[in-house]
Amino acid sequence: MTDKRHSILFWSGFAIVMALLFVSPYVLPPFWQRFLTEVLIWGLLAMSSDLLIGYTGMVSFGHSAFFGLGMYGAAAALLMFTPSLVLALAFGLIGAAVVSAFVAYFSTRLRDIYFAITTLIFSQIFYVIIFTWTDVTGGENGLNFPRPRLGIPGIWSEPFTATTLHWFVLVVVAGSYLILRRITQSPFGMVLQSIRENEPRTRAIGYPVERYKIMAVMLSGLFAGLAGVLYALQNRFAAPDFVFFLISGEAVIFNVMGGIGTLVGPILGAGTFLLLRELLGRIFGENFPYLIPLGFIFIAIIIFMPQGLLGFARRWLNR
């Protein structure tokens, strides 16, 4: 009964948000339209790391590597072949999958802070490789590449516009959200949450915990890579800055601000963070050290809304 009501509420909410995001290109000025598309992309990155932080209880600082490899994978496809959306997606996802499999294999043997540090070190290794391997990656300058056409190979295609790019990103992010949500509610997802709650007990009832963690890191890395591909499509460049661990840190901040273990919260956190940064920049000028006030806001959220913005909003709505 209440399950059914819950599900009706969920799908109505989902439909309303989708409708609003769908019509946004008709309403928003171009700058804010682009901004919103980017929030969705960062939201996908944050959501992917929530699978680890919120559901498995592992904090990863390696997501910049997965994101960056998605980005450079797409770049490789767009530079080596006739630009194709399918190839960009395939190369980006393969790049992210290979890197996340590698990181997952070595880092999941460790727990807690040791896991976090190992993922951070791996992401920095990839950063250094990309930064120094100038012949292939363009080094510090990064890579510029053309944008592929939107379409289905052999059937139909047309150039991306700001609006169709937004819709494409929206479909990918919403689809990823639904898939991640289903994963978190699957038997596999329940095992991840059991690991978060009590790892030794989960092992004792018969689960090979390491294998589940490896799978979780790989899935998470795949969605982070997808976000990297979307970012490459939007901006038509790849740069080593995006592989740097600060990006991983931002993904963690989005999670904490929005509310971990909720999937939607991290998107909300990304939106709030980026909006505040943008507004602070506008009010106080480009060179304003926005991280200082943002840091205070972040601390205030942790103290006064320990479950993040979404957790806070939920409790407030339930009153």
């Binding site: 994963i183 596999f188 095992v191 004792a204 009832i205 090979p208």
Partner: protein, 262 residues
């Protein structure tokens, strides 16, 4: 007192021996200078209820930790259904058919009572299913509900485990172990901290589930042990001091000397 040894021919293939579910040979574990288990040769037959008693620090929980793969013995072997399981990790030992409950309650505190049991039931199948909702697996849900019923927690199915009373959490602990469908169930002081009435109920519960299982139970309450166990093993400083029926143990002078005298 008659012992069931009706387990049929065991996989061990050792002719002339009672069908033993579990054997340890020379099981020894040291923590630095402390020998917590010393050359323990232990055997339990199928369908038996065996109690392990001994003073604090005798090595009872350590024995369970070795059997379930939490600790790796320094030397010696553990044979389960004739198969050497020494050094296997806990998840594989669970898959072989040994389950345990813990002396200190060890559950998923922020999951519901049902989910605690369901996740254990799910460990045998469907764990790698990613794209279907967990409630869609009717076999697992049914198993979980049956187990909750058998440990008397059905009315609390949707309660968070951390909100259960101490006694209920102790029974949930047994439920989680049962849901993995073990052949051998190791219970580490299942009635610790329970009232007399709760202890009585839990004893009835254990007697009920013992029909299809082999049970190894560590228990301090002598009255309970004497009523429940077919045989008793007394551990003292990591060594087996005596073994026998409750009557034999009660009248064993060495046991009386170190343990039962008060």
């Amino acid at each position: 007192m008659e012992l069931q040894s009706s387990g049929g021919p065991s996989a061990a293939g050792r002719q002339g021996e009672a069908a033993s579910v579990l054997r340890t040979e020379g099981l020894t574990i040291r923590f630095g200078g402390l020998t917590a288990l010393n050359n323990v040769n232990f055997e339990i037959g199928r369908g038996e209820i065996r109690a392990i008693i001994g003073p604090n620090g005798a090595g009872k929980s350590t024995f369970f930790n070795c059997l379930t793969g939490v600790l790796r013995p320094t030397s010696g072997r553990i044979l389960f259904n004739g198969e050497d399981i020494t050094g296997l990790p806990p998840n594989e030992i669970s898959k072989k058919g040994i389950a345990r409950s813990y002396q200190i309650t060890n559950i998923l505190p922020n999951a519901t009572t049902l989910e605690n049991v369901r996740i254990a039931a799910q460990s045998r199948r469907h764990g790698w299913s990613l794209f279907r909702h967990y409630t869609a697996f009717g076999d697992i849900m049914a198993k979980a509900e049956a187990v909750l019923n058998s440990v008397g927690l059905s009315p609390k199915a949707d309660e968070l485990a951390c909100n259960l009373s101490h006694g209920e959490q102790r029974n949930l602990e047994i439920g989680i172990a049962l849901a993995t469908e073990p052949q051998l169930l190791c219970l580490d002081e299942p009635t610790a901290g329970m009232s007399t009435a709760e202890t009585h109920d839990t004893m009835e519960l254990i007697r009920g589930i013992a029909k299809d299982l082999t049970i190894l139970i560590v228990e301090h309450d002598m009255k309970v042990v004497m009523e429940l166990a077919h045989r008793i093993t007394v551990l003292h400083y990591g060594e087996i001091l005596a073994e026998g029926t409750p009557e034999e143990i009660q009248s064993n002078p060495r046991v009386l000397e170190v343990y039962l005298k008060t």
